[in-house]
Symmetry: C2
Subunit: 213 residues, 2 copies
Amino acid sequence: MILYGYPLSSASYRVRIALALKNLPYESITKDLRAGEHREADYLDINSQGFVPSLKLDEGTVLGQSAAIIEYLDETYPDPPLLPAEPRARARVRSLSQAITSDIHPLNNLRVQKALRDQFSATPDQIQAWIARWITDGFAALEQMIGAHGGKFAFGDQPSQADCVLVPQVYAAERFAVDLAPFNQIRRVADAAMALEPVAAAHPSRQPDADAP
Amino acid sequence: MILYGYPLSSASYRVRIALALKNLPYESITKDLRAGEHREADYLDINSQGFVPSLKLDEGTVLGQSAAIIEYLDETYPDPPLLPAEPRARARVRSLSQAITSDIHPLNNLRVQKALRDQFSATPDQIQAWIARWITDGFAALEQMIGAHGGKFAFGDQPSQADCVLVPQVYAAERFAVDLAPFNQIRRVADAAMALEPVAAAHPSRQPDADAP
């Protein structure tokens, strides 16, 4: 498989964690978002949204959208599972994931930061406040969800899809200097996940192009 | 089951469509977002994010996040299915859904409109432009995805999770006067879905509290 991604992209980082937890080998191709490589014609042929990540399967099919890719990996390579077996538990894990993939991350990514600068002449401080606001709001709800159903990890005692999504969001929060002190449960389970070697190996700093401009 | 929702909420509308396609009876409780009923303490006890929809199961469990709820319904009431059987096809349907649930809708909902007014003094025209921009960008990619893999519906010839998500986004686009002329495939498959009686019955105008302020 080939993963088209970018070290700092949260959505790419999620898929790297899932691949690593399942011990699946893959080739990594970096699309430098800051250089606009994701908007070039050859990549738009692969991913019509011009987003990373994309996962190219060995037979040639290309899948997009990090959460869809993680579900695909879980259906195709079920050991170890990233979702529990019971439907209500599966829904809780997906809810945790979507509280990040729908309610936090989409508001903070590079294209939104650019739109705020272009349309509202947002200053760096205003962008920082915008990002911190959505992370803080979202983490307040996640903190309760993890408090109710978390164990060693975000849900129960096995790493799940929710941890694949939470770890990159915590990393992004730290990059943007968001105060994580109020979020004991989030810090606790994210630390537990990051202590796993496969999760640690997916960290942006450990990717081949981590020093790309 | 009890669905806590709001007629005009896209995320509630998605779940109404899924419930209707599966012919599942449910009680509907309206939380009037414009009156702030979703931020009241009794509802925050049900949904810590203060978001609609929530689905309360007969045994008392409450599930949040529209996409997680739709997956739960599909796992628990599999006939008719809202996902195809083959893993790559499932990934494509989920990608279509997430191109809306992660990349369009989160940027346009009421709390974001409010944040743009509060933080950037956004005018109604600027908010209209902001909303139209994300719908237009997202629909351009969806148009290609549906062109590649759509059939009578957004994916293939059976209504899927992707149609549950697309129909409310098309409805929102029309409310915000976004020009849908360039999006032939989207209009075609959304019209096909809306022609199904269960989908039509889920329309905001046909909900009990459709005239709520």
